[in-house]
């Protein structure tokens, strides 16, 4: 582990690459974002990332490591990006090696959901626990698993895909042929579409934008019973996937982040009720159900924390 509390965190997204200086778990300086699709392929984009990193290093002394969260499958041990879901041209890119050669600092590269979970585990809501299930709720549903005090990775670094687990073996067929995938029930768009159906069934016509999770939360706070019932249903569906994680992993904590989680108790209350009603004592007694401590900044903070803990050691393996 590096002694310096100062590092750089990079959150590589489908539209922008955000780069910031992190002191412990606080962003203290953030560079203007790089627009991902302004660049032809990995080489040019990596050069732009390096220039931004050098700008930040010129302003801050003592930066000791760099962490990068990538939106796709990553081999963490090798720092190799296998491929990105929404950015073409990124196939088998040895990102850690390339960045280390150009910058001369130790670099760690991981999947973005793992980075967010790492931020929560090391500095946020899941701090101090040995077993944590992390869920991120948005357009997609992501996740990560800490068990026996370690991030669980699996044979091809794919572990933690909670959004693809099934809540109904006869449910609709998802993107990977999987029936009843959680993401197809509690993803942003699915919540919206189901709410509109519920309003329509009640004889109420609503445009789609008034059925979004944010709109549903506002409506429920104003006493809209249909909106309230929709949050109960989301809580129930989410609780089924979380319950499966509990029976399998017996975690101390479940940490939930992402835009949909901003509904707060509208979601957390039914989630807790449905979850605890389906677990026995050793699985529910002491179980912490927590909102994520970090928001959009989780990726940057987690990537930086991961680099502080792992980049120096990992580099020696190269």
């Amino acid at each position: 582990m590096s002694d310096s509390p100062l590092g750089i965190g990079i959150d590589f997204g489908g539209t922008t690459v955000k780069i910031a200086v992190v002191y412990q778990s606080h962003i203290i300086d953030q560079a203007p974002p790089i627009t991902t699709l302004d660049f032809q392929g990995p080489d040019d984009l990596i050069d732009a990332m390096v220039r931004t990193v050098e700008d930040l290093r010129a302003r801050h002394e003592g930066i000791a490591s760099i962490g990068v969260g990538m939106p796709g499958l990553v081999n963490f041990e090798k720092g190799l990006v296998y491929g990105l879901t929404n950015v073409p041209g990124w196939e088998a890119v040895p990102l850690r090696r390339l960045l280390e050669a150009k910058i001369g600092l130790p670099v760690a590269v991981d999947n973005d959901a793992n980075c967010m979970a790492f931020a929560e585990w090391r500095c946020g809501a899941g701090r101090g626990f040995q077993n944590v299930v992390f869920m991120s709720l948005g357009t997609g549903v992501g996740g990560a698993i800490i068990a026996n005090g370690q991030m669980i990775r699996g044979m091809r670094h794919g572990a933690g895909e909670i959004g693809q687990t099934s809540i109904d073996y006869q449910g609709r067929t998802g993107h990977y042929g999987n029936h009843g995938a959680l993401e197809d029930y509690v993803g942003n768009n699915e919540i919206t579409a189901r709410a509109r159906e519920a309003y329509t069934a009640a004889g109420i016509k609503k445009p789609l934008e008034e059925c979004s999770p944010a709109a549903l939360a506002a409506a429920a706070h104003h006493g809209d019973k249909i909106a309230f019932a929709q949050w109960d249903l989301v809580g129930q569906m989410l609780a089924t996937a979380a319950m499966n994680c509990c029976w399998l992993l017996n975690p101390e904590a479940i940490v939930i982040g992402g835009g949909v989680a901003r509904a707060g108790e509208l979601l957390f209350h039914p989630f807790r009720e449905h979850l605890l009603a389906q677990l026995s004592g050793p699985f529910k007694d002491g179980l912490m159900i927590l909102p994520a401590a970090f928001g959009h900044e989780a990726g940057i903070i987690g990537a930086s924390a991961l680099a502080r803990e792992h980049a120096v050691g990992a580099r020696q393996l190269v």
Copy 2:
């Protein structure tokens, strides 16, 4: 780890306690079983176990450790039995400490499903893998999880309860209030009851004993299409729970044991088809789907292997 390849494995069951000398992964001498319910409570039964162990030690030199698999919740680190499902009077019994005091050898105590999984992981079908999901199919459905090269235990040592995970969020309510528990779909009795319903729906009257998994396997081998379809359904249900484990843990291997798994390819073929059709490349490429290498003896062999690896080290923690 103990250098001696000779140990004692104890498989403590609801009806009998089986005690044997194990050489590597082979049972070389087994004592007459002790009838569990012949004894009033833990004290008398532990004394009977100690006598049997001493008989075996008198016949075999060099026994270095003792492993015990218990049918209930166990704190592995402390060797403490919290409680047993089907044996009254076993509450908060410090079994490791009691046995070590009476026998003078290092003892390891674990849950029976963990012992079976440990046998498969160290000496059987799951040997050499870092991430293994183990499922045991019988009247109940048990399991255990190896991830990052470690047995996953969880906050209260409850991890691995695959039989309680849900395959249908709206499914029937199970023992713990959980909806759609796998065990309530593919347990011995549930397979039997559903098969009888299928025969009845086809206008065929069958006594219950002709609908058991063993009878269904025999019928399917003789071309009975209803029996064949029942195995497909069991494979589909089981695949959903296994798929959830794959998305969450990305294991190299799934190992399936227990009486119901004796149906062989009648079960494994549809299981494989349903499972692989619901996973993406990094989750299914290279995934091994394997029948357990050990049968009834898995508990004894696993307990002994666990003791060889862990009892000596664990004892120093006391």
